[in-house]
């Protein structure tokens, strides 16, 4: 299964992924129209920086899924068809427990509705993540883990050139 994986050393902090994420979660799905929608669309990816490192972070879909366990209303559940953790906005009661337990801080609040939102892997776009498409440096990839690690190993070998 393909995952959203980041090469943080390629992230320049342009926030194009954040913008594309918000647009992907708008009604119109186009930038020029989305900026005028009554309820501003909510981004679910966050470019964090500690000064040395930029990192585009979104829900990691982790297996121990503390958010699922913390959700008392059953709004956050595994979607059995896709194996992805999804939020059912209708069931969310806005207790924000999930926000507190997420180790990545990847769950956010929709201010207007006082409910939570997180990366849904662009369900509306046939699971073709907009953040990945928007990344100008290809810091974000939507790949099989084995492909990602393969290219990581190749990079390592390139670095070894001249060492032996």
């Amino acid at each position: 299964m393909r995952q959203i994986l980041a090469r943080s050393e390629h992230c320049l902090g342009c926030k194009s992924c954040e913008l594309a994420c918000a647009v992907a979660h708008s009604n119109s799905k186009t930038l020029y129209e989305a900026i005028n929608e009554l309820k501003p669309p909510q981004k679910r990816i966050f470019v964090e920086s500690n000064g040395d490192l930029n990192f585009p972070l979104q829900c990691r879909q982790c297996l121990d899924s503390p958010c699922v366990h913390a959700c008392m209303s059953g709004a956050i559940q595994y979607d059995l068809k896709t194996g992805l953790i999804q939020v059912d906005e209708q069931k969310c009661v806005g207790c924000l427990m999930c926000v507190m337990v997420c180790p990545f801080g990847a769950i956010c609040e929709i201010p207007d509705t006082h409910r939570v939102a997180k990366c849904d892997r662009c369900k509306d776009l046939d699971y073709d993540p907009a953040c990945v498409a928007a990344c100008p440096t290809k810091a974000l990839e939507f790949v099989e883990v084995r492909e990602f690690t393969h290219s990581g190993r190749q990079t390592f070998l390139d670095q070894m050139k001249g060492v032996n």
């Binding site: 342009c14 926030k15 194009s16 954040e18 913008l19 594309a20 918000a22 647009v23 930038l31 020029y32 989305a34 900026i35 005028n36 501003p40 669309p41 909510q42 981004k43 498409a133 928007a134 100008p136």
Partner: protein, 635 residues
């Protein structure tokens, strides 16, 4: 994403060849740039100081101001002012060069002549100069003095070129807004100052400054350049030639002029003709000069030189494998040309000190060495012909007959065959009675974000069907020429009934034996001044403000800063100005509102943004009908 790259059949034929030949084109680079930055697209990215770059979150969750405190409104308007100032600077620099040429020509220091004394006198009279008893050289120097005085004006007096040529009603509006320019160079400098960190933070003031740059462009750029060029090279009269890649000749040395200033291209045309014999000795049947962009338009209008193609297909022209040399001067020259040319035998000659491209051959062109440089370029083109690989040659068999050369003088000339006393009367009577619903000027570029030429052509077809007379310049004119909208058959096919009748009557009276074309080619981008002159003359004849006329402008596929500065000038003239590509302003709702609505209360004109050809035509027709209604004319 656009499925089609162009509607031009010649371009579509050559795109697969480009791919086979390993040529990377503007369309490939555009695809590689996707997606383009949303902050930049909305105009909310600021790079004016080293504390930045800053950007505003258009969804309101992130930063609402830049580090200095500039809001989205300020950042958008500051960026817009910078775009428009840059465009104005390009045209003023162009104009300055031709003023210099006229000065040196009048002093006999360079080998250029004062070709059109009548135009010289007309320009001089408008400037209030006494023309009797002066040689053309003396008079030219006096005209040059006025042009130089504008650029050297240290006082508050407005630009004389504007005061002499703009409609009085408009001057009053501009004066009331405090936007009359004094000295083009000073205004450009002031605007560059105004956009620096810690300066203007009032979006309305910044929009007014932008409007002022539109006036700088209109009068110290466009109008000044056209006047000088007509004096030096002649005012265009109707010419018949052809347009599109099919004009290239396999057995000829094909030399392309590309760029904007006719100082060089005129010399190339002259020397190509003189050196035909050398080409024949080299085994060719002769030399064919043809043009891209506005250098092409300039020599088309005055010398009947055929048009090869417009901005977006400048690389594709080289892919024919039949271009022996392309000589460029300034503006709209893709830096990629040298790389494309390297796949073939084509020589790229750069000529100007401010346009050099690694991989191209630089032959410095100055007013003093113009003939030597032009000869060297023509001779090197002939030598290049010998290196042509016939296996790589593919010239698409597409070309259209075109009639061009419609300066205001030429239009009045054609109309005076109907009414010699009041030549504008037949045109205006037909506008008044509704046979001609209105006039739309389509101008400007190609933009790779749009299928090449589609907005120009589809918009204009729709307007013609509704009996709107269209005039065109720049790459818009190229697009319409290639689509067969600049010949008599175009009138038969595309013009509405009443428009067709008028064009047929004028064509018969002028002795063409056929209708005038439905789209009148008025020249290069600086020749938008001719459209300004025409609008000014019509307003003057009717004794109304230009803002009231059933006239609109459109840049269907704008790409360059110059398109924005020309468009801004059109808006200051009180004209609704359509843009078919969204400019980077939507990041500020207030500014977008001001540019597309509010401005019309203040200045009469406004921008109108619509990316669909049909809807844009409807919008422009609605605007024209509203103006007709206000004037009490039938719709």
């Amino acid at each position: 994403m656009k499925s089609q790259k162009s509607i031009d059949p010649a371009v579509l034929e050559l795109l697969p060849k480009a791919a086979l030949d390993g040529v990377e084109t503007v369309w490939d680079r555009h695809a590689a740039q996707q997606p383009q930055c949303g902050f930049g697209s909305l105009g909310v990215c600021c790079r004016h100081c080293l504390q930045g770059p800053c950007r505003i979150d258009p969804f309101g969750n992130g930063p609402k101001t830049g580090i200095c405190g500039a809001s989205a409104d300020v950042i958008v308007t500051r960026n817009l002012l910078m775009h428009v100032t840059t465009g104005a600077a390009a045209h003023v620099d162009h104009a300055y060069e031709v003023v210099e040429a006229l000065e040196l020509a009048a002093k006999g220091e360079i080998n250029y002549n004062i070709v059109d004394e009548k135009k010289l006198q007309q320009v001089a009279k408008r400037l209030g100069l006494e023309i009797t008893g002066k040689s053309k050289e003396e008079l030219a120097l006096e005209v040059v003095e006025v042009a130089y005085a504008d650029i050297a004006n240290h006082g508050k007096k407005p630009v004389q070129w504007l005061m002499a040529n703009a409609p009085k009603e408009r001057i009053a509006v501009w004066a009331s807004l405090g936007i009359l320019p004094r000295n083009p160079d000073r205004e450009i400098r002031e605007a560059m100052h105004q956009v620096t960190m810690g300066m203007d933070a009032d979006p309305v003031n910044l929009v007014l400054a932008t409007a002022k740059q539109g006036l700088v462009d209109g009068y110290s750029g466009l109008k000044l350049a056209t006047d000088m060029q007509d004096i030096l090279f002649g005012t265009p009269t109707p010419v018949v030639t052809e347009a599109n890649l099919g004009v290239l000749k396999e057995d000829h040395v094909n030399l392309i002029v590309h760029g904007h200033v006719p100082l060089l291209s005129e010399k190339i045309v002259y020397w190509a003709d003189k050196l035909q014999e050398e080409a024949r000795l080299a085994g060719a049947q002769g030399i064919l000069v043809s043009g891209i962009c506005c250098s092409g338009n300039e020599v088309l209008m005055r010398k009947g030189i055929p048009l090869v193609t417009n901005f977006l297909a400048q690389e594709i022209a080289i892919v024919t494998g039949a271009i022996d040399a392309m000589v460029v001067d300034v503006q709209c020259i893709m830096p990629s040309l040298a790389k494309v040319a390297a796949c073939y035998h084509t020589e790229i000659f750069t000529t100007m000190p401010i346009v050099k491209i690694p991989g191209a051959t630089h032959i410095p062109f100055t007013l003093e060495n113009a003939d030597e440089a032009a000869q060297e370029i023509v001779r090197k083109s002939i030598a290049s012909y010998g290196r042509r690989d016939p296996k790589k040659v593919q010239i698409p068999n597409y070309k259209r007959k075109i009639m061009a050369g419609f300066s205001v003088e030429a239009i009045i000339g054609a109309l005076s065959t109907v009414d010699p006393v009041q030549p504008l009367k037949p045109l205006i009577d037909n506008i008044v009675n509704g046979n001609i619903l209105g006039v739309v000027a389509t101008v400007g570029c190609n933009n790779v974000k749009v299928t090449q030429d589609i907005l120009h052509v589809e918009l204009v077809k729709e307007l013609l069907k509704n009996n709107v007379l269209v005039v065109a310049t720049g790459c818009s004119a190229h697009a319409l020429a290639k689509a067969g909208l600049m010949n008599s058959e175009g009138t038969e096919t595309y013009a509405g009934e009443s428009l067709k009748a008028v064009l047929t009557a004028i064509g018969q009276a002028a002795g063409l034996g056929a209708p005038l074309p439905p789209v009148l080619h008025m020249g290069s981008c600086v020749d938008n001044s001719r459209i300004g002159d025409l609008v000014t003359a019509i307003a003057d004849y009717l004794n109304v403000d230009t803002a009231l006329l059933p006239v609109a402008a459109s840049a269907p596929e704008p790409q360059h800063d110059k398109a924005l500065s020309i468009g801004t000038w059109a808006v200051t003239m009180g004209i609704t100005t359509h843009l078919g590509v969204v400019p980077p302003v939507l990041g500020s709702k207030a500014v977008t509102e001001l540019l597309t609505k509010g401005l019309s209360d203040v200045i009469g004109g406004k921008f109108y943004i619509e990316t669909d050809a049909k809807l844009a035509a409807e919008g422009l027709l609605e605007d024209i009908r509203a103006k007709r209604k206000k004037l009490g004319l039938p719709n």
